[in-house]
C-alpha cells in the first residue's frame, strides 16, 4: 500500500515571498503524483501532476513541483506568492497500474498555506 506524508500542517508566509510545501510518499510500485488545491469553501482543483518524463512539472498559478525518486519526494514550490494563494494544498498519489484507468488517490493530510500582506 502507498502512503503520503505532508510534513507541514500549516505554512504562514508573507506576500511575494517564496514558498515550498513538502510532500513525501511511500510505495512499493511506481506511482503518479498530484497536487490539489482547495480554496476556502470550494472543491478540490488539480494544480499539477507528474506522470513520467521531466521531473520538474509546472502547474497553474505559477506553481511547480519536482519529483525526486531517490528521496521519494514531490515538493511544491512557488517563487512569489500572492494573497490569493491562501488555501489548503493536498499531495496525492495513485498507483501506476500498467495503463488501466484505476486512479484511486491516496492523499496526504493537507498543508494550509496562509499568505499575509
Amino acid at each position: 500500500a502507498q502512503s503520503v506524508t505532508q510534513l507541514d500542517s500549516q505554512v504562514p508566509v508573507f506576500e511575494e515571498a517564496p514558498v515550498e510545501l513538502r510532500c513525501n510518499y511511500s510505495s512499493s510500485v511506481s506511482v503518479y503524483l498530484f497536487w490539489y488545491v482547495q480554496y476556502p469553501n470550494q472543491g478540490l482543483q488539480l494544480l499539477l501532476k507528474y506522470l513520467s518524463g521531466s521531473t520538474l512539472v509546472k502547474g497553474i498559478n505559477g506553481f511547480e513541483a519536482e519529483f525526486n525518486k531517490s528521496q521519494t519526494s514531490f515538493h511544491l514550490r512557488k517563487p512569489s506568492v500572492h494573497i490569493s494563494d491562501t488555501a489548503e494544498y493536498f499531495c496525492a498519489v495513485s498507483v501506476d497500474a500498467g495503463g488501466t484507468s484505476y486512479g484511486k488517490l491516496t492523499f496526504g493530510q493537507g498543508t494550509i498555506l496562509t499568505v499575509h500582506p
Binding site: 505532508q6 472543491g43 478540490l44 488539480l46 497500474a97 484507468s101 484511486k104 493530510q109
Partner: protein
Amino acid sequence: GAGVSQSPSNKVTEKGKDVELRCDPISGHTALYWYRQRLGQGLEFLIYFQGNSAPDKSGLPSDRFSAERTGESVSTLTIQRTQQEDSAVYLCASSDRDFSAGEQYFGPGTRLTVT
C-alpha cells in the same frame, strides 16, 4: 460545461438516522469515486465505480456504508444508523477512463453533521 454536482450541500442528522448523499458526475465520465474528509485530516478513499465493473469497496469503513451507481451516471452514498464519527465532508469525483492517470474532477462536497 457542468462540473460534478453533489446534494445536499449540508446535512444535519440525528445519531441513528440513515442518510443518502447524491453525486452527479460530469457527463461521459465513466469513473466515479467517493472520498471522506474529516476535520483536520486528508481525504480517505471510500469506493470506486468504473463502468459496469464490480466496484472497489475497499475503503468503506463499515457495513453501515454502501453506495450505488446507475449506469455511468448518478451515484448515491448511503450511511445507515449514523454515528457521530461519520461527521465529515463527503466528496465525489469523476474522471474520463481515457486518462489512465488522469485528473479527477471533484464536486463541492456534502458536509454531514451527526448530532
